[in-house]
Amino acid sequence: MDWIFILLYKSFWGGIAALGFAALFNVPVRSFFHIFLFGGIGVLIKFTLLHYTFNIAFASLAGAVAIGFLSIPAAHYKHTPPLIFYIPAVIPMIPGILAYRMILGLITLTGNPKSPTFNTTLLETVNYGLKVVFILISLSVGVVIPMLILRKESVKDIKVLFAKK
């Protein structure tokens, strides 16, 4: 049960991270709570799937798709375009540590190729780099997948339950 507490703790901080970006992007006050919630839900889904040993790119994709779907009713309810919810909400899932390790690896790779650790560094850097690239693609494509599936130009054309008139 211990991992569930860690999961909830991390989701909370994920929501906070999303809120920071909401403030940075000057989001209207009325959408703050939803951004916090969606940021948390994205992180929750990502880390739950990671716990069940899913691939990190797939876990990120699942989180991003969930955020994309949640943004549509929220857009109706708050009269705000969905991108205002999904952009700050997916940012906490961006793999900062992996990207840093990749950059550090790339710098090391410019050094002496005869050094005994060169091959290991090369393999690790390629691994981190590919993960970063695939996670970034998953996040950016994931949030727009709902709009692609529903095939509408504007969220106003999508019928949702409990829409405020």
């Binding site: 929501g15 403030a23 900062g96 970034l136 727009v144």
Partner: protein, 260 residues
Amino acid sequence: MNELGYTATIEEMRELADVLLKVGTMLMSAGANTGRVRNTVNRISEAFGHSVEQHITQRSIMLTMLDDNGSSIFTSVRVTPHHVINFKTISGISKMSWSLVADQWTIPKIREELKRLEELPHYPRSQVLTLVGLAGAGFCSLADGKPLDLAFTFVASAVGLYVRQESLKAKFNPYMAVYFAAFVASLIAGSSSKLGLSDSQNHAYVTSVLFLIPGVPLINSFSDILDGNVQNGVTRGFVGFLISFSIALGILTSALIYQF
């Protein structure tokens, strides 16, 4: 109908084109994707019974007013101001574009609303700095940071953002501003492990710069490419890449100082 055979006079059309370009450039510089700019401008022009063709790039928008047969009447261009992400503008313009269709707004009323949206204040600086500091702590927590690391990232992110804002005020190149911010933030956060206060593999050090990540250019890049606006998408992607590169340079500079 006038002597040219249009229901509206040329002056009216010029005025409409001016408002449409204003809406388009405001959306573009606030961080909307190309499809949204195109849809919103089309929606407004259709509300006035006109059709337009647009050519949208990162730094300018070109718009041609069409007559009833679909041939061009005139074309105007407007340069997009520097991109400053502002979701209040996007939200406000989106709301306006729907209510002007429903309530048949006049052009002066649209101008008034645009002026109001332009003058909407940002959140107070202290609040933004605090929230971004908390976001830094959040990133650190997601990377398994300890409470002490969280505290260091909080300070580092807030000071980093302050440095970025000040550099932009001093008219530094935006990429330079990101570099300075990343350098200062990682320098502050790196001090925790350098002073022997923390042993958790530089988590604070790495996550302190994450508030700089170019989320809007990267996500808009993919939405644009998927939408068919490949040129704009590639441009945005490259901007995102350059910002990431500046962050990397900043963090590597402090790594050089600390000998990590």
